[in-house]
């Protein structure tokens, strides 16, 4: 079962280093969920098609189901549990104030994508939002409120 410690992938997740006892081709999603035990990042498709597993790699929104633990040396991984700061807290507050989520399963990914968008583009247009979030499926179709929520978060962050 054990492989040499030097070969063990190392992951820096939410500021904490983890040695992962797994081959390098293990998807980051399953390492985060099953080995590290952070379950806010969700499995939806396994093929980078739905965005439920979105995490930030050095601040960039990335599908963790198609990212592999052997490729992440020196990369700062942030999950929904670890994302903080003014933009993230504003998005969370707006999502709560506007009751954006329905089932909530995709919302970790939606929040991660929205935070990344607002960090890069403080005043996004509808087209910016559609472009940035089109990879994040919501089967409850909360899109109307997601779009309104991003605009509202932008407004509050500017104020």
């Amino acid at each position: 079962m054990l492989i040499g410690k030097s070969k063990m992938p190392k992951l820096n997740i939410n500021g904490i280093d983890h040695q992962i006892d797994a081959p390098g081709d293990m998807p980051l999603l399953w390492a985060i969920r099953d080995l590290v035990g952070l379950t806010g990042t969700k499995f939806g498709c396994g093929q980078a098609l739905c965005g439920a597993c979105t995490v930030h790699l050095d601040g960039q929104p990335t599908r963790s189901c198609q990212t592999f633990v052997g490729d992440l040396d020196g990369v700062k991984i942030t999950t929904i549990e670890g994302i903080g700061g003014k933009v993230a807290e504003t998005v969370r507050q707006v999502w709560t104030d506007m009751d954006v989520p329905q089932c909530g399963y995709c919302q970790s990914g939606q929040v991660m994508a929205a935070v990344a968008l607002l960090s890069e583009t403080p005043k996004p247009t509808d087209d910016d939002i559609d472009a940035a979030l089109d990879g994040n499926l919501c089967r409850c179709a909360t899109y109307h409120r997601i779009r309104a929520g991003v605009h509202e978060a932008a407004r509050r962050l500017e104020a």
């Binding site: 499995f43 396994g46 909360t142 899109y143």
Partner: protein
């Protein structure tokens, strides 16, 4: 109704309550309130749970010493907000602070949790019935709890109960005495149970109907702390992935798992009646090994027709005489023959997948004392409890069903065979119950696992007289029954599966001669209810066809409908409201067209107006205005959210969703690249208007779906002159 399901559910035992907490309950059948402490049940030697008096399991509310109020919900929340609605009903009468409240799913006692909209005989969530079944039950529970808390405080403080006020989770008296709910909970539990509980008048409501009330559970959905079934983690738990038969009806002939079993982290590879399970220490170990298993299938009994071939058979059958009559008025054949003008159309609807974001899953554990626990999205908990017991070889009362939060449902979690629940127990059993097992479907398992909205073909004919009146209507529906051969088949009456014809057989329009008929076909494809069920196709067929008829009669679609809805004021009211708010009849921007539709489903009434443009084969929906009458609006903002979401769900389906079987019988779609629900870039602006009403509350989980499709199609018809009769539209525009 539902004889087989009843047998199984009635065999199920009682809910187990392990926390010592204050319980209040309404025994609906007995008409009496009972109360007690939620101590763990004492087990008789035979294994049957016996109650510590009085009635410890009969519970709707727990109040802990710290004041935390837990509402025990008979209804299952898939994201639609049923928990929030029930919390609202309880707290309107109870008077806790909103942030004290949380809700959990409860099961085990039909007297407490049976769905009253279904006669109380089955616990289950469906047909958008949660507010209907809960409206009185949970308000009474809240009121009884408040009265008992007040009585406890009155005795403790030696003041009249009538002088005590209750607000924000606090009991207070003019003398300055104040206590929290938690302080009084233990004493309140010993108070006499009030018999005829007075309820607030609607003018005194502060929570029911309050548009500013927010869901209690939103925050946890933004920070990763809202736990779903996929997040269940038990000590020593293993994770299993499934290899299912590649065709419906195929079975395992043989398999070779030697290579897979040698892989790191693989615990076992086992055959169960539903396929092959690869059991690993975690998901990736199981998934990686799954590819190394080779299975030979017996396809001798498999469905090998492709969906195109199935639909051709349906289409041919639709031209013939219906097998059964769902509705007959006047003489439609004669009236058609005498009509000055006739119109006809044949509609084709594909299979649709629910494709909820959380792929199906369940967790099973057998404990040392022989009891079994099953975690999952138990939409029909009593049925699943009986199944789990049968598979594990234990008594139903030895099975505890943990009702989890889930990532969407749309009908998929209410199945006649409990699929993932059955698999979890089968796999745990196959490995000798040596560890708890989570079975987790991949997206491909979920997409190809069957239980689709069945395919249908509808043929419609209408006749118009010399004055432009619609005088004849013939409607033949051809498709598979959802309930035939399942525990729900008692729903079939005189050859009519209501779920095949609902929305068509109760068409509200005043037409003197009308035939609605059904022909039920058989295929090996497993069908299921899919958000709004029959109305997902009947609304499209009838409302598109009505526009076709209106055009033939030279009439405006709104005026034409309103004239035919004189006896259906609730339909007419939502239609008028949506049309007015949308600006129906006013000039639109160049290239924009409006269509409308109205439909009743599950006793709620919804109208949609869609503003659309068409560029070549591309349909773009810019703006949607919806109006809904769901009786008393319990949570107006949740109602709006459900109609917004239902609109997106229904729109995605008619634009681009279809599940197809290749010739040979294999499902062609596996993931979201080929099965394509709506994405944000195609989501229109949606405005929702609620018709004020004092009628009893009806549902909103499903009724937002049916009328968006025909509203869009009717706008596209105006834009292009073409009625799209083949869905999805992405296909229909080409044919």
């Amino acid at each position: 109704m539902l004889p087989r399901i009843l047998e199984q559910i009635n065999a199920a035992g009682s809910v187990k309550t392990t926390r010592r907490s204050f319980l209040v309950a309404s025994a609906a059948a007995a008409g009496a309130f009972v109360i007690g402490y939620g101590a763990a049940p004492v087990r008789a030697a035979g294994g049957a749970a016996v109650s510590t008096a009085p009635a410890p399991f009969d519970a709707y509310i727990r109040i802990a010493a710290d004041g935390k109020v837990t509402v025990l919900s008979s209804q299952f929340d898939m994201g639609q907000g049923a928990y929030n609605g029930i919390a609202t009903l309880v707290n309107e009468e109870l008077g806790a602070a909103w942030d004290q409240i949380t809700v959990v799913g409860a099961t085990g006692d039909l007297k407490l949790y049976g769905n009253l909209a279904w006669g109380g005989a089955v616990q289950g969530t469906g047909g958008s019935s949660s507010m209907t079944t809960s409206f009185d039950r949970y308000r009474k529970a809240g009121a009884a709890a408040r009265i008992m808390l007040t009585e406890a405080a009155a005795r403790e403080w030696k003041v009249p109960a009538g002088e005590i006020s209750v607000k924000d989770g606090k009991l207070s008296h003019g003398s300055g005495k104040v206590a929290g709910f938690g302080d009084m909970a233990a004493k309140a539990a010993k108070m006499p149970v009030p018999q005829d509980v007075p309820l607030k008048g609607r003018n005194d409501w502060t929570l029911i109907g309050n548009p500013d009330l927010r869901r209690y559970d939103s925050r946890a959905k933004t920070d990763g702390t809202h736990d779903f079934t996929i997040d269940v983690k038990l000590p020593g738990m293993l994770t299993a992935v499934m290899i299912h038969p590649p065709k419906f009806g195929a079975t395992v002939k043989s398999f070779d798992a030697a290579k897979a079993k040698a892989m790191k982290g693989v615990v076992d590879v086992v055959e169960i009646p539903r396929g092959i399970a690869v059991v690993g220490e975690h998901m990736w170990a199981a998934l990686a090994a799954r590819d190394a298993v080779t299975v030979t299938w017996d396809e001798s009994k498999a469905e090998t027709r492709g969906s195109a071939a199935i639909l051709i058979e349906y289409r041919n059958r639709a031209a013939g005489k219906p097998q059964a009559v769902a509705r007959k008025e006047g003489d439609a054949s004669k009236a058609l023959a005498a009509a000055v003008r006739t119109v006809d159309a044949t509609f084709e609807f594909p299979y649709l997948a629910h494709a909820a974001m959380e792929p199906l899953n369940a967790v099973a554990r057998r404990n040392a004392d022989g009891t079994l626990e099953v975690w999952g999205g138990h939409q029909l908990p009593g049925l699943y409890q009986g199944m789990a017991a049968g598979i594990a070889g234990v008594k139903p009362e030895q099975v505890t069903m943990h009702i989890m939060k889930v990532g969407g449902g749309f009908g998929r979690r209410a199945t006649p065979d409990g699929d993932v629940v059955a698999e979890a127990v089968m796999i745990a059993k196959a490995i000798g119950f040596k560890a708890p097992v989570k079975v987790q479907w991949t997206r491909e398992n979920d997409m190809r696992g069957g239980r689709y909205r069945p395919a249908y073909v509808h043929q419609l004919k209408a006749g118009i007289d010399g004055a432009g009146n619609l005088v004849a209507w013939q409607h033949h529906i051809v498709g598979q029954s959802i309930v035939a051969g399942t525990p729900f088949q008692g729903l079939i009456k005189d050859g009519i599966d209501q779920t095949s014809v609902e929305g068509a057989s109760n068409l509200p329009y005043a037409i003197p001669n009308m035939d609605v008929g059904l022909t039920t076909m058989e295929t090996g494809v497993t069908p299921l209810w899919w958000r709004a069920v029959g109305s997902t196709h009947t609304a499209y067929a009838t409302e598109c066809f009505l526009d076709e008829v209106a055009a033939a009669a030279g009439k405006d679609p709104l005026d034409f409908r309103l004239a035919l809805l004189k006896n259906h004021p609730r339909h007419a009211a939502v239609l008028r409201l949506a049309a007015e708010k949308a600006g129906w009849g006013k000039p639109l921007a160049k290239g924009r067209f409006m269509g409308l539709a109205v439909h009743e489903s599950f006793h709620s009434f919804v109208a949609h107006v869609a503003e659309v443009s068409v560029d070549g084969g591309d349909i773009r929906v810019h703006r949607v205005v919806a109006a809904v009458d769901c009786g008393t609006a319990v949570n107006p903002d949740v109602i709006k959210a459900q109609i917004e979401g239902g609109t997106g769900f229904g729109l995605g389906a008619i634009l681009a969703e279809e599940l197809t079987l290749a010739d040979g019988g294999a499902v062609e779609q596996g993931n979201y690249d080929t099965y394509t629900p709506l994405r944000i870039s195609a989501m229109p602006r949606v405005e929702v208007h609620i018709v004020p009403s004092a009628e009893p509350p009806t549902g909103v989980g499903e009724p937002g779906v049916p009328s968006i499709g025909p509203a869009v199609a009717n706008a596209v018809r105006k834009a292009t002159g073409r009625l799209i009769t083949k869905l999805p539209m992405a296909r229909g525009m080409q044919s």
